[in-house]
Subunit: 487 residues, 2 copies
């Protein structure tokens, strides 16, 4: 059975990504322009992401709900910046039930407006606050250039929408959810994101302040991986979200919104993958351990099969996501390559000798030194069948930590501190520049024009303790920003 | 604090339902025609339904995926009956990104067509079969008369779509999933549904055979609560879903589809609720136990609070969904009424005397004999704090069983066996008729015209062992059908 070879990352990172998403059956193109099909392997990964995030949302006091897919066009027009930002991307329903609609309906690109409308109905008194609601669902933004998971016309996400009595509470919520995203990205996806504030140019349409987690892909391009916005009273005023405070005075709420999408799957692929395929972080991997029974004849099969079954049961009972590859007519070598390509963190081989020795062979997907021409060679260890679930769990923890460590080193290797603007222009071709910036739109636009790099964020952590001068114009600057090319 | 009284079921069942959905904060009307907002309490109920179903889907070998929201209009036209059935209900996107689309896109009312298209890409060989995929999502059907949860323009559901090598396998799958739905409805929702086959008139547009679970509401109207369809090769031929069989011959697949929606929430409300409000089955209830601390002064509060906290921890650790009502300024009586209205299965009261006696008071929501003017009176028992989690779990099991028993008795009380057509016409005004039918469209149409009752299903179980004569025309009939008015 011939293997189609993937493009390598060095040859063409973008092609490597596109081919891998298809070959690993994470997603597929659909017959609908710009829309993707998320296949079962990709959707299970998303379900694991959802579960990890949803737990964090509930632990911080949020509840889920569902708001309509359709939003009256007039709602968008109530918040000026919001409609300007989203108008070019809207899909519009003009007919329903065979008749032309009186008012066209927009397929939601984001739900601040319709949720704002409902909050104005529900919120009356300070006793009703805060309102802390999240929604899991699909949204549509008409994108011209699409790429599976990274930018598609329809995508899947969660959007949190909260309403508060005071600015301080709302700003705290904004940063709390940014922390939730960073904690998730770092500790579940092993993607060492940087937290920061978006520039005025890059912020969400309608926000007072946007914050972001930014990830660095292996090609050094930035991937915005989750955003959390303080919306001030902009939407509260547009939708009349008011409450009577403890002095019986009518006040506008302060609101926030925050979202993380299936784009995170792209971040995972481009952070960890190698030329053999995906490498999935154990905490999110649909399959954490794949078991390959090895036998040459019926007698060997009879010896191996019961051990495979017992171990499968044992690992499953311990809560490990384990699969036995029982496909017939395929060589072990083919199976090794196949599951490596699909990024399963740990492979377990069990043959007659392993049965004899009461051991199994474990091969780490992330461990270097394997030779793709000799599948299974290198990076393999033999482990006793005693307490195997504990050994396997321990190894999954080790792999998770190793992935984060490697990704952090990769990230840090791409962050540079150019000495002047000429050097910055070079640096941002293949790296990130971390530089003082005067925070003017003019300097930001100049960098973009000269290099195609944008400001990614003003990081919340790791700012120097002294002021400096803008790397573009030389004027005083208090904070450093990341400049980088992005997806 | 004054309580608004609900309409009673006897006064106006429909109003009772509408008021209760709003008052219990399960759902709300939205500013978008026919679309609902599912509020957090309702959505948590749906999440519990999803979890119970999803486990059953996975246990029967299914995986989840996500297909596009939009479907090209031309796809619908490929299956003649399908487009005829759905054309009047379609919402159509004609503009995207500021431009008119070359081909209008339909917002999916169901996904047989787009999934069929993808299956034709993925399925090549008998080795690829069966394909067993489910999708959780939202769909849109332009409804003229809407009712929260029962019939809305947008609703939430799951749709399973499977492809098989043979008719037999596909028919088995159709019935397997019907069994899954019935098992879920009966054992999780305590809704004693009847399984059966839809008439030719009532079947899904494009199906060879439709099966259904039908529930009887307290007003005796039928509620179709889940359907499972054998689609034959209709969609396989329309979308060219072909595979090479083991003799290397090209064959069309046999496909199925099956769906259950947020309508199930309506079934739960109208099966179990009473004039005080909702009664939620413990296995699905967002809150299974509500704890009401009772104290008159700070000294009593100091005695009660630590016990409340300890018990809350203990129940939570045992996996019970428990909430403490700590709201200030509300009387215990108000809280009792409020949580009764919201259908929490079990209420726990803890006051100073309970602390002294090392006991708690438990009041079952479903137990008759309470007096709404004297909240907490009747139906209450005192239980030791020792092994309280076990006592509470046991009581939840008892409540679940009692709800099913009561609902089954209610259902059975509504099933009648009219002696002749004149009697049938009376019976179906307030009950169901279970009668021989010749299976002709003419007789079915006559009943509908004379009484507004439709055929609900030809039940798979409980058919008599002998043939009879059609209750409408008197011709020979082999099977009995349920005639009833429906939602």
């Amino acid at each position: 059975m011939a293997e189609e070879k993937l493009s390598t990352r060095a040859e063409n990172f973008s092609e490597w990504y596109n081919e891998l998403v298809l070959k690993a059956e994470l997603a597929d193109y659909s017959p609908v322009r710009g829309c993707m099909v998320v296949r079962p392997y990709g959707w299970t990964l998303w379900e694991n992401i959802q579960q990890a995030l949803d737990k964090r949302f509930k632990d911080t006091g949020h509840v889920n709900a569902a708001f309509p897919l359709f939003i009256p066009m007039s709602f968008f027009e109530k918040e000026k910046e919001h409609v300007e930002g989203f108008a070019p991307e809207l899909a519009v329903v003009t007919h329903g039930g065979g008749e032309k609609l009186e008012e066209p309906l927009v397929v939601r690109p984001t739900s601040e407006t319709i949720i704002g409308y409902m909050y104005s109905k529900w919120i009356k008194s300070w006793r009703d606050l805060p309102v802390l609601i999240n929604q899991w669902g699909n949204v549509v933004r008409w994108e011209l250039r699409t790429k599976l998971f990274l930018r598609t016309t329809e995508f899947y996400w969660q959007e949190g929408h909260t309403a508060h009595a005071t600015e301080q509470e709302a700003r705290e919520e904004t940063l709390r959810m940014l922390d939730v995203y960073a904690d998730f990205a770092i500790n579940e996806a092993a993607v060492p994101v940087l937290k920061g504030i978006k520039s005025e140019t890059e912020k969400f349409a309608g926000a007072v302040m946007s914050t972001t987690i930014e990830a660095i892909m292996q090609d050094a391009r930035a991937l915005q991986s989750g955003t959390s916005h303080y919306l001030g009273q902009n939407f509260a005023k547009a939708f009349n979200i008011q409450f009577t405070d403890q002095n019986n005075e009518l006040q506008y709420c302060h609101t926030t919104s925050w979202g993380l999408s299936t784009r995170m799957i792209g971040a995972i692929i481009m952070t960890h993958g190698d030329d053999q395929g995906l490498i999935l972080p154990p905490r999110l991997a649909p399959i954490q351990v794949v078991m390959i029974p090895i036998f040459k004849n019926d007698a060997e099969k009879a010896a191996v099969q019961p051990v495979v079954n017992r171990i499968w049961q044992e690992l499953k009972a311990a809560g490990i996501r384990v699969k036995v590859d029982e496909r017939e007519g395929l060589t072990p070598g083919f199976k090794y390559n196949d599951w490596e390509m699909r990024g399963v963190p740990l492979r377990m081989e069990i043959g007659p000798k392993d049965v004899e020795k009461n051991s199994v062979a474990l091969a780490r997907r992330d461990k270097p030194g394997r030779d793709p021409q000799k599948p299974g060679a290198g990076g393999k260890s033999f482990v006793s069948q005693e307490n195997l679930a504990a050994s396997v769990s321990g190894m999954l923890v080790t792999i998770q930590a190793a992935l984060l460590e490697r990704a952090t080193a990769m990230r840090d290797s791409h962050i540079r501190d150019p000495k002047n603007y000429e050097e910055l222009k070079q640096v941002v071709q293949n790296d990130w520049a971390f530089s003082y910036w005067c925070e003017s739109k003019a300097c930001e636009a100049k960098v973009k024009e000269d290099t195609k790099a944008s400001t990614r964020c003003i990081p919340l952590e790791g700012q120097p303790d002294h002021a400096g001068t803008c790397i573009v114009c030389g004027k005083p600057a208090t904070r450093k920003v990341y400049f980088a090319k992005s997806y």
